[in-house]
Amino acid sequence: MFLHKLKLLHFRNYEQQELSFNARINIFKGNNGQGKTNLLEAIYYLAVSRSFRTNYDQELVHWNKNDFFLKGNFQKGEDFYAVESAYQGFSKKFKIKVNGAEVKRSDFIYQFPVVVFSPDDLLLIKEGPAGRRRFLNLEGSRLIPSYYRKLKDYQKVLQQRNRLLKEKRSNFFNRDLFEPWDRALVSLGSSIIKQRISLLKNLEAQAQVFFEQLSGYKEQLSLNYVSSVTMADLSEKTEELFWDQLNQGRGEELKRGYTLIGPHLDDFLILINNYEAKKYASQGQQRAAALALKMGEVNLFCQARRESPIVLLDDVFSEFDPERRLQLLNFLRQREGQSFITTAAPFDKQGLQEGEFAIFSVYKGKINHEGARVNPGKNAPAEKNVASIQPKFDH
């Protein structure tokens, strides 16, 4: 998938900006605070209709304006999509149009796959299990068709069951009342655990390849699912184990008033050469591992959706040594899709060929294309004459 052209109006610190991109690698140079991350955010927002930094659309509006507007020309295979996003600050109204026809926000999500990596992703390794569960749930929802629905149902069952446990706390236990919720918890929970285990196995295989490349074939990355259901695996046994352990923990649950077992308490370990990365790896190794997880996700996307996602790398290059930088650049060159990279440090082309990259400089909310010629990709789209939702701004 490619983004050929982008137009920003009143988005973050951009008043007005139009850009044409290279179909392979686009590099944005500039000091911090000039708008590099804002640009990646605009691309992400256009593709999935939400931000990776905030849940509030209002924060995306230029500081002295009321509305923002984004327009991008995407290409998927042989098809072209003009995507427009418009947000009105006064009414808090949001609109998306694809090729001139309005679409619902909920129908739009995951149509245009994008993977973003920013320094914050290091928290995946450094912090507690909640962030890793969120990662699994997000990837599961994007890659496995039934995952999201099961997760929603599981969360509902969990809430209902916790309420029941609170009501009955220090009271008698009524098996009849608990049985239907216990069954649902075990059946949905086991299914989620199994989907996560196989997702993690696939991700491990993909991330491993990238991690080896990045570390020069010296280190091994592994991902181990750690379930609150002891001995849970991909077999039929898991339901039984879950059921037995749920019943064994009954007394403690009634005392505490909430569910103490299930995928909502699970985690996964990130190991480098069989040592837990969180405790034993260097900062550099941790960064490489976090990036490997994301690049593994990119490859999984290619497999599952037969679509090469757009990759957004925010401020990654400055964090790696020259050797790893070269490995990362090679990975981006070899993959099929388009990449966008920001960097505050001077950019070393390291063998990038004419035509496979473009460099832009970002300064105070203005972007200038510099150096290499922009390669518009094959069959760049002719602008179709469609009704636009672009607001009429006075300049």
């Binding site: 039934s146 629905r149 509902k156 069952v157 209902q160 009849d176 239907p180 649902a184």
Partner: protein
């Protein structure tokens, strides 16, 4: 410009209907004002009358104006068959098919600890005594296909089966006249679960 007070009160009242916003309420208000007085009176009377005369059958929970309801009285209906539904309107939906000739049990909800709905609130003890006292041979569970509806179905099945009664759950699946390829995953998996031998 603001409305005369009477009109404002009417619009506000109409706004309380589900799915009616201020704009539609205003349209309905002006519609009523444009109709002859007798017609408006008969609409208002219909509302009050329905409210006064209709209640839930103490036996099955259906909406009725006689006790027990017409369905419970009807001697041609199969008394060995009880269909369990969540809402009174579900009875009307099933009756429209003309395919079902047993009795009903309306729960007025589904098991939901979060909403304070337990077996007593759903009059499930009454359902179990109906089953025991009337020699019921099959209970068809038609609660909604979601987490709460499924839990309710499981709860009933577990307690009714030991009585030697057949318990069935209505199948959920593909809309008739629809194409398989347009069905979503969830609908398809439910349809697969509810498949039957041919």
């Amino acid at each position: 410009m603001s409305y005369p007070q009477t009109l404002e009160k009417l619009v506000e009242s109409l706004c309380r209907f589900p799915g009616i916003g201020p704009k539609t309420a205003q349209r309905l208000a002006f519609f009523l004002l444009a109709r002859p007085r007798e017609e408006v009176v008969s609409i208002a009377r219909a509302m009050v009358e329905a409210k006064d005369k209709l209640f839930f059958c103490s036996n099955c929970g259906c909406l009725t104006e006689i006790e027990p309801c017409a369905l419970c009285r009807d001697s041609r209906r199969d008394r060995g068959l009880i269909c369990v539904v969540q809402e009174p309107r579900d009875v009307l939906v099933l009756e429209r098919t003309g395919q079902y000739h047993g009795l009903y049990h309306v729960l007025h909800g589904a098991l939901s600890p979060l909403d304070g709905l337990g077996p007593e609130e759903l009059r499930l003890p009454h359902l179990f005594s109906r089953i025991k006292e009337n020699n019921v041979r099959e209970v068809i569970i038609a609660t909604n296909p979601n987490v709460e509806g499924d839990a309710t179905a499981a709860f009933i099945a577990r307690l009714v089966k030991p009585l030697g009664v057949t318990v069935t759950r209505i199948a959920f699946g593909l809309p008739v006249g629809g194409d398989l390829e347009y069905a979503d995953d969830l609908t398809l998996s439910r349809a697969l679960e509810g498949r039957r031998e041919m």
